[in-house]
Structure formats: structure tokens, C-alpha cells
């Protein structure tokens, strides 16, 4: 199956600052992928490059194997894009917003979009400016889903929502995409938002991709080992040490790889996803990336 998004050495510079650098990732098909990183890490830049709201400075990005530069319209028809802060027209009613989607897209499923909004009890005749932040996010999502997209991109979709609304939004998202097997890429600076819904994780910080992989595989291959104080140069065999921290009596090693046997006095502790992400973000030089795959790309 062709990857919905494939970036090769993608980079974007604004003036003298690199917002994104040498970014090579492959977002898998039919999965919900999370793009996580601190504010200003380059998440929005990456997503804007995918929708060609920006032009790359270096490298290229392909969507369904095609270049957005050459075949943007073809791709935008297949892509639902919800930009940061869910921009909508405040003076439009909800049904005006759906009419906007209907008239500007060749593929449009009015019934599906209406059903989404009924489900979250948003009245069609209400003006956008009179909706809460959570409701506006739902309208933005319905507008993107109305295209029945093969790829759905959401940039910080829940940043403005309270915890309950976040949960509802994510739940709705899972339900909506399950039916079509839509590939989803959503960004957030809060790992907690992504943990429950994502199958795939991309960690990005300071404009560079640090980690990309299936969440289960990431959790299975990373371990937190705690044992008696060892010298900082000590490296257990067969694993890569991502990070080491030491107190007077004990050492903690965050390692990647299979741990064959635990030496005496050492034990393995739980390493939840959030902890794993924070570990990587605290060591900007560390990276866990899949080997690049060669893929036939149709012209």
C-alpha cells in the first residue's frame, strides 16, 4: 500500500531559521499517526508543507506518491485538512460552512457531514461565532470528513479544548475514520491526547525528527533499567542507551533494544509512552528512526 505521506530530506527555512530540517518520514497507510513535539518544533511547518501551504526549501514531500507541487488539486480532493485553531468563517452558519465544503469540493458527502454534527448536537442554523471552541473544532472536523478523505490531517485539533471535550473529540475522530480506514496524521504538543488514539508516533523537536515508529513497537523496544550506581561510561551489551541518569546510589538507563538478561541488582521498570517521549525530547541528539525504505512511486 502506498504511503499517504512520504517526506525525503524535507526542510524549510524562514529567513535564517530552519523550522524543519532534513526530515525523512513515512506516514503509514490506514493508521492514526501522531506528530508530537514541543511548541515551535516544526509540526505545523511539516503539515503546511504537505498541503503545499508552504514550499519546501530542501527535499520533497509526496502525498499518495504524488508531488503536491505538480498535482495539488488531485491531492486536495483526497485530503482533509484542519489547520491550527480550526479556521472557519465566523459570520457563516454551520449549514453555510457545509455548503462551503459542498461547493468547493468535487467529492462531498453531505449526509455524512450532517450526521457527524447531529451526533455532537450542533445546531445547523447557528452562527460559527456563537459556537464554543469545542463545537467549532467539531465543525472543522465535519467539514474535513465531508470530503470522505483518504488522508486526514489535523493540526493541534484539541489545543483549545477542555479535557472532557478533548476526549469526546478524539472518540468522534476514531469512530469517523474507522469506517473508511482513513489515514490520519494529527499533531499535538500534549502526548496524553495522542496516546489513546494513535497507532504510530512521530516525535519532532527543534525542527528534526527524533522518533518514528509503531507505538507498540516503540514501547516493546524501550526499557527503563534501574540498578546500582554505575559509571556513566557503562553500556549494557545489546542495547543502545538513550539516556542515563545517576543518583548517589542508583543509576537509571533508558535503553532501546532487546534486553537479554538482567544483571544482578538490576530491574526493569515500566516505561509509559509519555515518559518515553519526554526522554527523547530531553536528549535532542537521540534518535530512533526506521531504516529508509525504497518504494516505487508512480509518475
Amino acid at each position: 500500500m502506498i504511503a499517504p505521506i512520504q517526506a525525503t530530506s524535507l526542510g524549510k527555512r524562514f529567513g535564517r531559521t530552519w523550522a524543519l530540517r532534513d526530515c525523512s518520514i513515512r506516514v503509514p497507510a490506514g493508521k492514526i499517526a501522531g506528530l508530537v513535539g514541543p511548541n515551535g518544533a516544526g509540526k505545523t511547518t511539516f503539515l503546511n508543507l504537505v498541503a503545499r501551504l508552504l514550499e519546501p526549501t530542501t527535499g520533497e514531500v509526496r502525498v499518495f506518491g504524488r508531488s503536491p507541487r505538480a498535482q495539488l488539486m488531485l491531492l486536495l480532493d483526497r485530503m482533509g485538512y484542519v489547520a491550527q485553531d480550526t479556521p472557519l468563517y465566523p459570520s457563516f452558519t454551520v449549514s453555510d460552512m457545509l455548503a462551503f465544503g459542498r461547493r468547493l469540493n468535487s467529492r462531498w458527502d453531505q449526509a455524512f457531514a450532517e450526521q457527524r454534527l447531529r451526533r455532537v448536537e450542533i445546531p445547523m442554523e447557528k452562527q460559527i461565532r456563537h459556537l464554543s471552541g469545542g463545537q467549532q473544532s467539531q465543525v472543522g472536523l465535519a467539514l474535513a470528513l465531508g470530503k470522505r478523505p483518504e488522508l486526514l490531517i489535523l493540526d493541534e485539533p484539541v489545543a483549545r479544548l477542555d479535557p472532557l471535550a478533548r476526549r469526546e473529540f478524539m472518540q468522534g475522530l476514531i469512530e469517523a475514520v474507522a469506517e473508511d480506514g482513513t489515514s490520519v496524521l494529527l499533531s499535538s504538543h500534549v502526548i496524553g491526547d495522542l496516546e489513546r488514539v494513535c497507532d504510530y508516533l512521530i516525535i519532532i523537536s527543534q525542527g528534526r525528527v527524533q522518533v518514528a515508529g509503531d507505538i507498540d513497537a516503540l514501547l516493546g523496544s524501550h526499557h527503563l533499567l534501574v540498578g546500582p550506581r554505575v559509571d556513566d561510561s557503562v553500556r549494557p551489551p545489546g542495547v543502545d542507551v538513550v539516556k542515563a541518569s545517576h543518583t548517589e546510589r542508583q543509576s537509571s538507563l533508558w535503553v532501546r533494544g532487546a534486553v537479554p538478561h538482567m544483571p544482578d541488582g538490576w530491574r526493569e521498570e515500566a516505561l509509559p509512552l509519555e515518559e518515553l517521549v519526554i526522554t527523547y525530547l530531553s536528549v535532542p541528539g537521540a534518535a530512533a528512526l526506521p531504516r529508509p525504505e525504497l518504494e516505487e512511486v508512480p509518475a
Binding site: 498541503a51 485538512y81 491550527q84 465544503g101 461547493r103
Partner: protein, 296 residues
């Protein structure tokens, strides 16, 4: 896209039409009152009847509201309708919504500009024609050059220019208010530049020469339709320039002053309108280039 444009701009469209209709009504009213008044004695001044309608028309005419309106309106149209067209989308972030739908940015912008520009341009056309009617009701031989900018080809072309300039500046700056300020400044520079430097010389002016300096007055009498483009210059018998303007020299042998004859009026209207239209086309092209390639 047509529906979207209509839905987005219907309110400002209603406002614009209301203001345009008000101005048109005022001009038509004053023209009508001039027409029905019958006091041919004061031929070169405004002449109104003594009834209430005449009084109101006189008030309107005295303050020249419609005259100023016609000069200011194109600039305001460019600032308030042209600038926000793209800039408001960018400042609200809704360009990320509009430009990720299944419509090319080229089509998005062209449809938007067409559907906003065309109805808006009807206003300066109507008002400009009414203004010409009004001027013909004023006095015996009105000099059209004095109200060059208020005639229909110029009102339409300068409004189109202002709109195109506003859209382009708005797209580049991406914020409505600063774009409005820049648009107004650029508009004034171009309009004054054309009027002061271009207009007197679209066709080489005709020289009026007289050796009868005793009866010479500046501007010379007997040319009611002429536009005098410079001051009278005085020369001695050898052809050396002695002075310009009103200073009279005793050694002067003859005086020269240049003018554009009245029958060139519509030719000049056409030339300056064409220049503004070409500039408008250039800014429209630039706005399209910027929106489709540059902006994020």
C-alpha cells in the same frame, strides 16, 4: 465558488451599494434642480429655484459633497473592499481553510475578484455619468477639464486601479489595516503623479503666442474649453526668456502660454483611463502570482 463569494461579501456589497446609491441620488437631485430652475441671468453660477428642493440642492452644491465624493470614493473602495479581499483571510487564518479545498487558488482568487469588482464598478460608472449630466446643467459653458477626475471613464478606471492595488497590497502584507494605509498612500502618489506629470503632456500642448502685450491677460480670453497647462512666459525680441508667470517685463516682445484644447478632453480621458487600467491589470497579475505561489 460564486456562492461562497456571495455569502462572504454580501454585507459589504450592500453597504457599498447603499453609499453609491446615496451619492448618485444626491448628484441626480442637484442636476434636476438646476434643470428645472429658470434664472438664466446668472449663467456662470449655480442657479436654483426658491422652493425647498432648490434650497437643499443649493446646500449640497455649495459644499461640493458629490465632487469630493467622486475623488475620494475610488480610494476608499480600494482600501475597504480591495485590501481585505485576501488580507482578511490571511489574518484570520481562513486561507488555510479555503486553500485546502478542491478549488485552485487561481480560480478562488479570479472568481472572488470578478464577482466583487464588477458590481462595485457599476457605481463609479453611474455616478460619473450623472456627474457629466450635472456639469452640463451648470452655467453656459462649463470647463470639463476642471472636473477631469469626475468623468465616467476616469471614475471607473481609478476605482478598478484602487481595487487591484488594494488586493495586491493586502495579499503581500496579509493584514487589512496596514494594507489600507499603504494602498491609500500608493493610490494618491500614482494619481497625483499622473495628473501633474502625465496629463499635461499626453499630447504636446498647443502654444498660444501673442505680440499684443498691452491687452494680454493670463490665461488668455476666448478659449472657454481650454486647459492652460503652464504660466505665460515672456520673451524679448531675440527669443530669450525674460520671465514666467505674472511679472511683466518692459523689454518683452511677445508672450507664450500653452494649453490643451477642449476637443482633446475625451482623448485624454481615454489615455489616462487606459494607463490606470493597465496598472490595474499589472496589480491583478501580481496578486494572482503572489497568492498562487508565494504566500503561505
Amino acid at each position: 465558488m460564486s456562492w461562497v463569494t456571495w455569502r462572504q461579501h454580501r454585507l459589504e456589497g450592500a453597504w457599498t451599494l447603499a453609499i453609491g446609491a446615496l451619492l448618485a441620488a444626491a448628484i441626480a437631485f442637484v442636476a434636476y434642480e438646476l434643470h428645472v430652475a429658470s434664472c438664466g441671468a446668472i449663467a456662470n453660477d449655480y442657479c436654483f429655484s426658491d422652493d425647498i428642493g432648490g434650497k437643499i440642492a443649493q446646500g449640497l452644491a455649495r459644499f461640493n459633497l458629490y465632487q469630493y465624493g467622486l475623488v475620494v470614493l475610488p480610494a476608499l473602495t480600494g482600501a475597504f473592499i480591495g485590501c481585505p479581499l485576501v488580507a482578511r483571510e490571511i489574518e484570520n487564518g481562513t486561507h488555510r481553510l479555503a486553500w485546502t479545498q478542491g478549488v485552485t487558488r487561481l480560480r478562488w482568487l479570479v472568481v472572488k475578484m470578478t464577482l466583487v469588482f464588477v458590481p462595485v464598478l457599476v457605481i463609479p460608472a453611474v455616478v460619473g455619468i450623472l456627474e457629466a449630466v450635472l456639469i452640463n446643467q451648470m452655467g453656459s459653458r462649463p470647463n470639463h477639464w476642471a472636473v477631469f477626475d469626475q468623468h465616467a471613464p476616469m471614475t471607473v478606471a481609478s476605482t478598478l486601479f484602487a481595487l487591484a492595488l488594494g488586493v495586491a497590497v493586502g495579499a503581500v502584507i496579509g493584514r487589512s489595516i496596514p494594507a489600507m494605509a499603504v494602498t491609500l498612500v500608493l493610490f494618491v502618489i500614482v494619481r497625483i503623479g499622473l495628473a501633474e506629470l502625465g496629463r499635461p503632456n499626453y499630447v504636446a500642448p498647443v502654444a498660444f503666442t501673442t505680440h499684443d502685450l498691452n491687452t494680454f491677460s493670463s490665461p488668455p480670453v476666448g478659449f472657454p474649453d481650454a486647459w492652460w497647462v503652464d504660466q505665460a512666459s515672456q520673451y524679448d525680441a531675440g527669443g530669450h526668456l525674460l520671465s514666467s508667470g505674472f511679472k511683466y517685463s518692459t523689454q518683452a516682445a511677445y508672450a507664450v502660454q500653452h494649453y490643451q484644447p477642449g476637443d482633446r478632453f475625451w482623448q485624454f480621458q481615454t489615455i489616462e483611463s487606459a494607463i490606470l487600467t493597465v496598472l490595474a491589470a499589472a496589480f491583478i497579475g501580481f496578486a494572482i502570482y503572489w497568492v498562487t505561489r508565494r504566500v503561505s
